[in-house]
């Protein structure tokens, strides 16, 4: 088990290095950053001064290493727009996004897993059809449109929920529902297919033949095995959801990391964008790592892979 964790974390670190390299070169996607920062009215002298001030005149590998070194020690660079350390802006925004995301993924699991179990136990019945419809509709619904539809329904037609901000529990309802409806269909589908294949196995048949009460078979033997792949999926979905918060936060005017990303992109505030992309990737990598460890703990066979 410890060897597995060690090996898995080594590959995680390699992954972080690879992603950080990609994120770093994002900065150069729009051409020379110094020229961009100097703006249209900037003279050549301005460009040269900016190049020296931000160290763009150093070899690219040195720039990358100093950026990465800064990241490791918590120095994420300086925001061009706020003229403040990026870390000072980022932490609070990130916490907002994660709080919302955590509630949303919990809701998604609370809906997706029971629905998937109900559908998987009785394939091709009404419950199953309903669950599939729920999933198919959810997977086709663009998040920003669903968010706006909710606003139209619950803030305009029946004004019972606030349409922007994150001040009270009421503000959480709509963004939470939108984010969880984005994640729930996949969780539901995987739980369902897991249940169907587990219920078909010999050991469940044996358990049935031994006369164990059905709900005990379901919860103790079937669900536990069916849920193993769901752990990884839920972790990955949580990562996607955080990264997808750009859209939802812009609709509901929530001052989280997603909105910060969008605003920074509009103002070409590169240090903030880089820090955000790397943070979101980091979350995804850590989450999938944790899911793998949990799975290895649940199912020893996984430790070999």
């Amino acid at each position: 088990m410890y060897r597995y964790i060690l090996r898995r974390s080594l590959s995680g670190i390699l992954l972080i290095l690879a992603v950080s390299l990609a994120t770093f070169f994002l900065m150069f996607a729009g051409g020379d950053p110094a020229t961009r920062m100097a703006g249209e009215s900037g003279s050549m002298a301005d460009v040269i001064r900016i190049r020296q001030a931000y160290g763009f005149d150093r070899p690219i590998i040195v720039q990358y290493l100093s950026w990465l070194g800064g990241f490791v020690t918590g120095d994420l660079g300086r925001s061009l727009y706020f003229d403040m350390p990026v870390s000072a802006i980022l932490v609070e925004r990130m916490l907002t996004t994660m709080r919302l995301g955590a509630w949303a993924i919990l809701l998604a699991i609370a809906i997706g897993v029971p629905l998937g179990v109900a559908a998987g136990c009785r394939p091709n019945t009404k419950v199953d059809r309903f669950a599939l419809l729920f999933a198919v509709v959810g997977q086709a619904m663009p998040t920003f449109w669903f968010a706006l539809l909710l606003v139209i329904a619950f803030s305009v037609t029946y004004p019972i929920l606030p349409s922007s901000g994150l001040d009270s529990w009421k503000h959480y309802i709509m963004p939470m529902v939108v984010l969880s409806y984005f994640a729930a269909p996949a969780i539901m589908r995987l739980t369902r297919s897991g249940m169907i294949s587990v219920l078909d196995t010999d050991y469940i048949r044996t358990a049935r033949a031994m006369g164990i009460v059905p709900h005990k078979i379901l919860l103790k033997y079937a669900l536990r095995n069916a849920l193993i792949p769901v752990v990884s999926l839920a972790a990955a979905q949580f990562g996607y959801m955080l990264a997808g918060s750009v859209v939802v936060e812009s609709v509901f005017a929530i001052h989280g990391a997603g909105r910060l990303a969008w605003e920074s992109i509009l103002r070409s505030d590169l240090p903030v964008i880089q820090a955000l992309v790397l943070c979101f990737s980091l979350f995804y990598i850590v989450l999938t790592f944790l899911a793998d460890v949990v799975n290895a703990w649940l199912d020893p066979r996984m430790r070999i892979a």
Binding site: S11, L14, L15, A18, V19, A22, T23, L26, A29, G30, P123, N124, V136, V137, Q139, A140, M141, P142, T143, F144, W145, L148, L149, V151, I152, V156, S193, I196, S197, A236, G239, Y240, L242, A243, G244, V246, V247, S250, A261, W262, I265, L266, S268, I273, L276, V277, F280, S281, Y284, I285, T288
Partner: protein, 298 residues
């Protein structure tokens, strides 16, 4: 799985007669496919169907409501937008943008993903390790954010949006192609081809690709849907297809300011977007059920 008997390739004719009834029986597939066909026709025939020029502004006829609301008339069945452009015409041309983006992005990502996936699955070993690492790294990168950032930095245009999404969305192709290639790489007919002295390239092109094309089609269909949604989301955030192009995402963004008074500006393009994505997904799911009956109900 590796010893699974692979059927000798039957003639194309008998394959069709074998599968055709299954297509007809699959309601979800037929429904999705027909709706998709309607949207495709809409996109192709947009210049003939659209009653007005989608770019023509008419400041005397701004914000006319659609025909089913008070004050609407058949002159503008879906009403007009903030600068008096006919909404129905913009919806028709919007289908063009969505489908064009969906198809082109999928072609790019299919080429990248299939090349990587088949290479990894066929050669295995170190090649596989490197490519698998690439896939995992790609999965860790937040697509929406990176696409937004790159499009904003490079400058937004339809071509840039397509290129950026195409370069980002190859992961599912690579994953599925790697797995399916692994399954058949040690099958008898591959070994036979090797014994006959076929080169690796010949084996991949003539033996492997024809056998994985079903899965490729399924992934491609689902990927079209994803590309369409992402383009709409980017355009909605103002960093996708630039105005005044009639993109459904952009139309929703433009209608957002009037959400409190004229929600139909949002609901109409949104409904078209939703139905198109729904139909595409249903076609993809149906294709999977039809071509891989053993995966049904899964």
């Amino acid at each position: 799985m590796s010893a699974a008997p692979v059927m000798p390739t039957a003639g194309a004719k008998s394959m069709v007669t074998l599968i055709l009834p299954r297509w007809r029986q699959h309601t979800g597939f037929m429904l999705g496919f027909c709706v998709l066909a309607v949207f495709a026709l809409m996109a192709i025939l947009a210049p003939m169907l659209a009653p007005y020029d989608p770019y023509a502004q008419d400041l005397m006829a701004r914000m006319r409501p659609p025909v089913w609301m008070d004050g609407g008339n058949w002159q503008h069945p879906f009403g007009t937008d903030q600068v008096g452009r006919d909404y129905l015409s913009r919806i028709f041309y919007g289908a063009r943008v969505s489908l064009f983006v969906g198809l082109s992005v999928t072609i790019i990502s299919c080429l990248i993903g299939t090349a990587l996936g088949v290479t990894a699955g066929y050669f295995g070993g170190r090649v596989d390790t490197v490519i698998s690492f690439l896939i995992t790294a790609r999965l860790a990168i937040p697509v929406v954010l990176v696409a937004l950032a790159v499009v904003a930095l490079v400058g937004s245009s339809l071509q840039i949006v397509i290129a950026v999404l195409g370069l980002l969305l190859w992961d599912r192709f690579a994953i599925v192609m790697r797995a399916t290639t692994q399954q058949i790489r040690s099958a008898d007919f591959i070994v036979a081809a090797k014994v006959q002295g076929a080169s690796n390239f010949q084996i991949v092109m003539q033996e492997i690709l024809p056998n994985v094309v079903n899965n490729l089609l399924v992934v491609a269909t689902l990927e079209i849907a994803q590309a369409i949604v992402l383009e709409a989301a980017l355009s909605f955030l103002g960093i996708g297809v630039p105005a005044p192009t009639p993109s459904w995402g952009l139309m929703i963004a433009e209608g957002r300011a009037d959400v409190f008074f004229d929600p139909w500006l949002i609901t109409i393009p949104g409904t078209f977007l939703f139905v198109l994505v729904l139909a595409t997904n249903m076609t993809g799911d149906g294709l999977r059920d039809i071509t891989a009956p053993e995966g049904r109900n899964r």
